[in-house]
C-alpha cells in the first residue's frame, strides 16, 4: 500500500476564492492510502516546495498528489521537488483544480465538489504509479538545414560558428532564396544583394558548412539526436568540382529562349546557365528540358567550349545518406498564384505585375538593368497603381485568411523608390489598412506619404481593364465615399505569400505538424516559437509564419541557439512515459505499427517458451523504440489484446481514474 500525501494549493485567490481548499484537503485525507493532506497559499513557491519535501520525509510518503494548476504549468517543478526529497519523480500526480475547476466555475459548492472528485481521481491514479526511469540516447553532432534562403543560411552560420557540422540542402542551383531577387530592403533601403551575398559566401567558405545545392531531402528516419536523411543530388550535368563558373558555356549556348526563373520569366536564359552573377556555388547547371544535346543528342557545344572539362551529359541523380542530431526546417515561401484573381487582369496584361516582379524590374541585375520600364512596350510608366492584400486577409477560398505581413512595408518602399527616382510618376496605393508595427516602420511609411507624396487610397479595387495600351483601374475610396477611376500605365499586385509547396511533404517526412495554411506549427506559440512539437525539428523563417527579413534573421538565430543547445549534449534523456509491449500478449498483428504516427514500432521474431513437448515457439511481436515514441497512446487503444500500454498512463490507471470519478 502506498503512503500518499495530498497538497492542495490556493494559488492565491485563483483557486481559494472559488474552491474551499480546506474541504478538499479534508476529503482527500479520507481516501484510501492517504496518510497526509494539507493546503498552502502558493505550493510552487520555495516555502510550498519545502512543505512538500518535509512532509515526504516526515510521513515517509511514497506517492504525492498536488491539487493545483494545470500539469503543463508546474508538473516539471513538482517532479523536481519530490525528486529532491528522494522520491522517484514519476510518483507524482497533479490534479488540475485551477484551469479545469476554479477558473471555469462560479458556484463555490459545485467547484469544491468537483475539486474533491479531481483530487480523488489523482489519488486513484497515483496509487498505481510505479517509479519510472528515463532512457538515454546519443546525439549525432551534426545539423541538417532544409532550405538555403536567408533563414537557412543564418541558422547554419550560427550553428557552425558554435563548432558543429551543418549541411544545407537547397533545391535550387544556388543558395540565397527569395532575398536574392529583392532589390532594396525596408526600412533602411540598403541593397539586398549587398547584405546577402557576403553571407552566402561566408556559408560557402565556412569549414563546418557543406552546401548541397540542387538537392532535395527525400527521406528522413530516426529521431531526435539520431536522424537519418536521404538526400537526392539532382543531376546538373556539370561537374561541380571542375566548373570554375567562368560562364563561357552560357554565352555560347544556342538554346536561348528559356524562361529565366531568377527574373521570374521577365526575360530569357540559355539552357546551360548560372542563375545569377553572385550564385553560390557559382557553378553552371543544364536545364535538361531545353538543352538541345539532351533532347536531340546533337549540339554538345558547351562541352567543346568548357576549358575545365566540367560538362557531363551522362550525369545521373545521386543519393547520399547522412546522420543528423537536429533538423532545421527553413523552406520559405512563394507568392500565391494569381490565376484566380483575374479581375486584376494579371493574365491579360503584361503591365500588371506582382510586387516580386517589380523588384526585378527595378533591380540593376534585372531584365531592364534597373530602369523601370513597362514590360509590354518598354516605355516609362507615368501612372502606377499598387493594390494591397491581393489574396491576403481574404475570406473566400481563393486567398489566404492571414495577413502576409510584409506587403504594406514593401509597397511603401516601392512607392517611395519610384517617386524618388522618377518624380514625374503618379503613384496610387489602394489599401485596406496600413500595418507598420516594427522598428522605424511607421516613420518609413509616413515618409512615403508626407515626403514623397504617395497617394494612399483606403479601399479596394474592383476591376482592372486593359484598354488601348492603358489599364483602367476602378476602385472605391472609402474615406471620400466615392468611386475612383484611374488610367494607369502599370498595376502592381501585392500577392499574398504562402509556404513553399514542399512544406507539406517535408512535414510528413519529419512527422512535424503544419496548420491549415501549411505553415509549420511551433511547439508553443509563445514560449517555444522556434521548436516544432516533434523533438529535434526546429523552425526557421517564413515556413513557420509570415515574416520580414529582420524577423527571419532573428528567428533563424534563435532556432540555431536551440539546435546548439541540443547538439551540445552528449546524451539525451527521453520521456519515460512511452509505450511498452507485453510480449506474452502480443499477437504480432501490426495494428499498432499502422496507427503509430512516429514510426516507433517495429516487429521482430522472438522465441517464447510454451507449455507442451515442443517447449518453444517463434512469435512475431511488436517492439517499441523508446527514443522515438512520444507517448501519444494511439497504439494502446488500437491494440485488441491490451498488450500495448503507456508507462505512467497505463490502461489500469485510466480505469482507476474513471472509477474514481464515477464513484
Amino acid at each position: 500500500m502506498q503512503r500518499i500525501g495530498v497538497f492542495v494549493c490556493w494559488c492565491g485567490t485563483n483557486i481559494a476564492a472559488t474552491v474551499d481548499v480546506k474541504a478538499v484537503a479534508e476529503a482527500a485525507r479520507k481516501e484510501p492510502g492517504v496518510v497526509f493532506a494539507t493546503d498552502y497559499q502558493y505550493m510552487c513557491s520555495e516555502a510550498g516546495q519545502k512543505l512538500i519535501r518535509d512532509a515526504i520525509a516526515e510521513h515517509k510518503l511514497t506517492g504525492v498528489v498536488i491539487c493545483s494548476c494545470s500539469p503543463r504549468m508546474h508538473e516539471a517543478t513538482f517532479r523536481k521537488t519530490v525528486e529532491a526529497a528522494g522520491l522517484n519523480p514519476y510518483m507524482l500526480e497533479v490534479a488540475n483544480i485551477r484551469e479545469q475547476c476554479s477558473w471555469i466555475h462560479k458556484d463555490r459548492t459545485e467547484a469544491t465538489e468537483k475539486a474533491v472528485v479531481l483530487a480523488r481521481t489523482a489519488i486513484a491514479k497515483v496509487s498505481l504509479n510505479v517509479p519510472l526511469t528515463a532512457g538515454e540516447s546519443p546525439v549525432t553532432k551534426r545539423a541538417l538545414v532544409i532550405g538555403g534562403g536567408i533563414a537557412g543560411i543564418q541558422s547554419a552560420l550560427d550553428i557552425a560558428d558554435a563548432g558543429y557540422e551543418v549541411d544545407i540542402v537547397e533545391k535550387q542551383p544556388t543558395i540565397g532564396g527569395k532575398m536574392t531577387q529583392i532589390d532594396k530592403t525596408f526600412p533602411t533601403l540598403d541593397c539586398a544583394a549587398c547584405i546577402l551575398t557576403p553571407k552566402m559566401v561566408d556559408a560557402a567558405q565556412h569549414e563546418k558548412i557543406t552546401i548541397y545545392s540542387y538537392s532535395e531531402v527525400t527521406e528522413v528516419t530516426g529521431f531526435v539526436g539520431a536522424f537519418k536523411a536521404r538526400i537526392k543530388r539532382k543531376a546538373r550535368f556539370v561537374d561541380e568540382t571542375k566548373c570554375t563558373g567562368c560562364g563561357e558555356c552560357t554565352s555560347k549556348c544556342p538554346s536561348k529562349k528559356n524562361k529565366n526563373e531568377f527574373n521570374l520569366g521577365l526575360d530569357n536564359r540559355t539552357a546551360i546557365y548560372i542563375p545569377f552573377a553572385q550564385a553560390v556555388p557559382k557553378v553552371a547547371v543544364i536545364d535538361a528540358e531545353s538543352c538541345i544535346k539532351k533532347k536531340t543528342g546533337k549540339c554538345g557545344l558547351c562541352q567543346k567550349i568548357c576549358g575545365a572539362g566540367a560538362i557531363d551529359y551522362e550525369q545521373k541523380d545521386e543519393y547520399i545518406e547522412r546522420e543528423y542530431g537536429a533538423i532545421v526546417v527553413a523552406t520559405g515561401y512563394n507568392p500565391i498564384d494569381l490565376a484566380k484573381y483575374d479581375e486584376y487582369a494579371y493574365s491579360q496584361s503584361p503591365d500588371v505585375v506582382t510586387s516580386l516582379e517589380l523588384e526585378r524590374l527595378m533591380n540593376a541585375a534585372g531584365p531592364t538593368k534597373g530602369t523601370l520600364l513597362r514590360p509590354s512596350d518598354g516605355t516609362h510608366p507615368h501612372t502606377i497603381v499598387f493594390i494591397q492584400c491581393v489574396g491576403s486577409r481574404c475570406d473566400d477560398a481563393r486567398g489566404k485568411p492571414y495577413c502576409s505581413k510584409i506587403c504594406c512595408m514593401y509597397t511603401a518602399k516601392h512607392a517611395m523608390l519610384i517617386r524618388e527616382k522618377y518624380p514625374d510618376t503618379e503613384v496610387h496605393v489602394f489599401y485596406i489598412d496600413v500595418r507598420t508595427p516594427g522598428k522605424n516602420f511607421d516613420e518609413f511609411y509616413r515618409r512615403a506619404v508626407e515626403q514623397y507624396g504617395v497617394d494612399y487610397i483606403k479601399g479596394m479595387v474592383g476591376k482592372v481593364v486593359p484598354h488601348d495600351g492603358k489599364l483602367l483601374v476602378q476602385g472605391s475610396d472609402l474615406i471620400a465615399n466615392e468611386q475612383v477611376r484611374i488610367e494607369a500605365d502599370m498595376v502592381v499586385l501585392a500577392a499574398a505569400i504562402e509556404p513553399d509547396k514542399s512544406a507539406r511533404s517535408i512535414a510528413t517526412m519529419l512527422t512535424a505538424s503544419i496548420d491549415t495554411n501549411d505553415f509549420f506549427t511551433e511547439a508553443h506559440p509563445k514560449l517555444r516559437p522556434v521548436e516544432s512539437p516533434t523533438a529535434g525539428v526546429f523552425l526557421s523563417g517564413v515556413c513557420q509564419g509570415p515574416k520580414d527579413i529582420p524577423e527571419t534573421v532573428a528567428q533563424a538565430s534563435a532556432c540555431a541557439a536551440k539546435v546548439i543547445g541540443l547538439l551540445a549534449k552528449d546524451k539525451l534523456k527521453g520521456n519515460p512515459c512511452v509505450a511498452h509491449v507485453n510480449e506474452e500478449m502480443c499477437n504480432g498483428c501490426s495494428t499498432c505499427e499502422k496507427v503509430c504516427p512516429y514510426g516507433a514500432i517495429t516487429y521482430q521474431d522472438k522465441e517464447f517458451r510454451v507449455p507442451g513437448p515442443k517447449r518453444t515457439e517463434i512469435r512475431r511481436v511488436a517492439s517499441v523504440n523508446e527514443a522515438v515514441c512520444q507517448g501519444c497512446g494511439a497504439c494502446t487503444v488500437a491494440c485488441m489484446s491490451g498488450a500495448m500500454d503507456i508507462k505512467g498512463f497505463a490502461n489500469k490507471q485510466i480505469f482507476a481514474e474513471v472509477d474514481a470519478i464515477c464513484r
Binding site: M585, C586, N587, S590, K594, S641, G642, N651, K652
Partner: protein
C-alpha cells in the same frame, strides 16, 4: 456437391503423395450427422467429408497449424478465403506453411430451418439439382435448398475466391443471394434508442457466455483475450449484473470492427441463436458510409479504414459536412 467431394479427395491424396502437404484441415462428422466439425487429417483422410453441413470456416485453425512442422492443406469456401486473407494481413498465418484449395460452395444448410420443416433423424445429406435429399431414420426427405440455407448464404459475398493456390469448382456456380445484407441493420437503425436497447437486452439476455462466438471468430484470434486476462480489469468492469454479458458482445464487436469479414460464424455457432452478426454488420455499414465501401480480407496487406488516416477522413460527430453524423 458429391462430385466436388470426390475431386477434393482425389486432389488431396495427390498432394499428400507428392509431399506437398503433411496434413489437411477439413471436416468430419461430429456428434450428429448434420453437425460437421473441423478436423485435422493425415494422408489416409479417415472420416473426411464435404457436404451441405460443412459450414465451419477453417481459416482460424491455420494460426496454430502454421506453427507446427510441415505444410497444411486447407479447404476454403469463397467466404472463408476473406478470413484467410485477413489473418495473413495480420501476420497470424505463415503463408509458406499453407497450401490452400478454394473449393466450390453453393450455400450451406441451416439445421434449424430443416428441423422447422419437420425433418428429424438425419443420417446423411446429398444434393440433387436445387433439392436437398436428406436420408433420415424415417426415410428419405426432399426439401428445396433455397428454403434451408444459413441466413448468411442469402447475402453471400460472392462465389469467387480471393485467395487460394488452386481451385476445385463446379461447372455451374449457384448464386444464392436473395437479400440485402444490411436489411436487418437498417431495421435496427430505424428503431428509437429505447426500442433498440430493449431489442438487444432481450437478445443478449439469453447469452450463457459459452464463448463459442469468440472461439469460432477468425478475427478473435488474440494470443490472450482481454476477457481471459484478469490483470487488465476488462473482464470484471460490470460484473454486478447481467449487463456484463451485454458488454462482452459490445467490446467484442469493437475489437473486430474493421477486421470482421462478415463470415457469420458467430451467429451460426451461437447455441442461443443470438443474431450476433448484426452487431458486426452495423459496424461494417457505418464504416462503408463514413469511409467508403470496404471489405475486410478482400486483399492481403490492405489497410483497414480504422487503422489508416487520410486527410479527408470523416470525423463522426464532429464534421457532419464531411459525412460525419451528429
Amino acid at each position: 456437391m458429391q462430385e466436388i467431394f470426390g475431386r477434393i479427395k482425389k486432389r488431396a491424396a495427390e498432394l499428400f503423395a507428392d509431399g506437398t502437404v503433411t496434413r489437411m484441415v477439413g471436416w468430419q462428422k461430429g456428434e450428429s450427422d448434420y453437425d460437421k466439425t473441423p478436423a485435422v487429417f493425415g494422408p489416409d483422410m479417415k472420416g473426411f467429408v464435404y457436404d451441405g453441413f460443412c459450414g465451419a470456416n477453417l481459416s482460424k485453425y491455420l494460426i496454430n497449424l502454421s506453427k507446427v512442422e510441415g505444410r497444411t492443406l486447407v479447404l476454403l469456401k469463397p467466404c472463408d478465403s476473406y478470413s484467410f486473407n485477413q489473418l495473413l494481413t495480420e501476420h497470424r498465418i505463415d503463408r509458406d506453411k499453407v497450401y490452400a484449395i478454394g473449393i466450390d460452395c453453393n450455400g450451406k444448410l441451416d439445421i434449424n430451418k430443416i428441423r422447422a420443416l419437420g425433418v428429424k433423424g438425419i443420417r446423411s445429406v446429398a444434393e440433387e439439382g436445387d433439392e436437398v435429399v436428406l436420408d433420415t431414420v424415417y426415410g428419405s426427405k426432399r426439401v428445396k435448398r433455397s428454403e434451408v440455407l444459413l441466413d448468411r448464404c442469402y447475402c453471400c459475398k460472392g462465389k469467387d475466391h480471393v485467395a487460394g493456390d488452386e481451385f476445385i469448382l463446379a461447372e455451374k456456380r449457384v448464386d444464392t443471394t436473395t437479400t440485402d445484407r444490411f436489411e436487418l441493420v437498417k431495421k435496427l437503425e430505424a428503431m428509437t434508442p429505447d426500442e433498440r436497447y430493449e431489442f438487444w437486452r432481450g437478445e443478449l439476455s439469453r447469452c450463457i457466455r459459452c464463448n463459442a462466438c469468440r472461439n469460432v471468430c477468425p478475427a478473435c484470434s488474440c494470443v490472450k483475450c482481454v476477457f481471459d486476462n484478469p490483470a487488465l480489469g476488462t473482464d470484471s468492469k460490470a460484473n454486478s449484473d447481467t449487463f456484463e454479458e451485454n458488454m462482452f458482445h459490445i467490446i467484442r464487436a469493437f475489437h473486430v470492427a474493421g477486421r470482421c469479414t462478415d463470415c457469420g460464424e458467430c451467429s451460426r455457432v451461437c447455441p442461443q441463436h443470438i443474431p450476433l452478426h448484426l452487431l458486426n454488420r452495423k459496424f461494417i455499414r457505418d464504416i462503408d458510409e463514413l469511409y467508403g465501401e470496404y471489405q475486410a480480407g478482400a486483399e492481403v496487406g490492405q489497410r483497414g479504414p480504422l487503422t489508416d488516416f487520410a486527410k479527408n477522413d470523416a470525423e463522426p460527430g464532429a464534421t457532419p459536412d464531411k459525412g460525419g453524423k451528429k
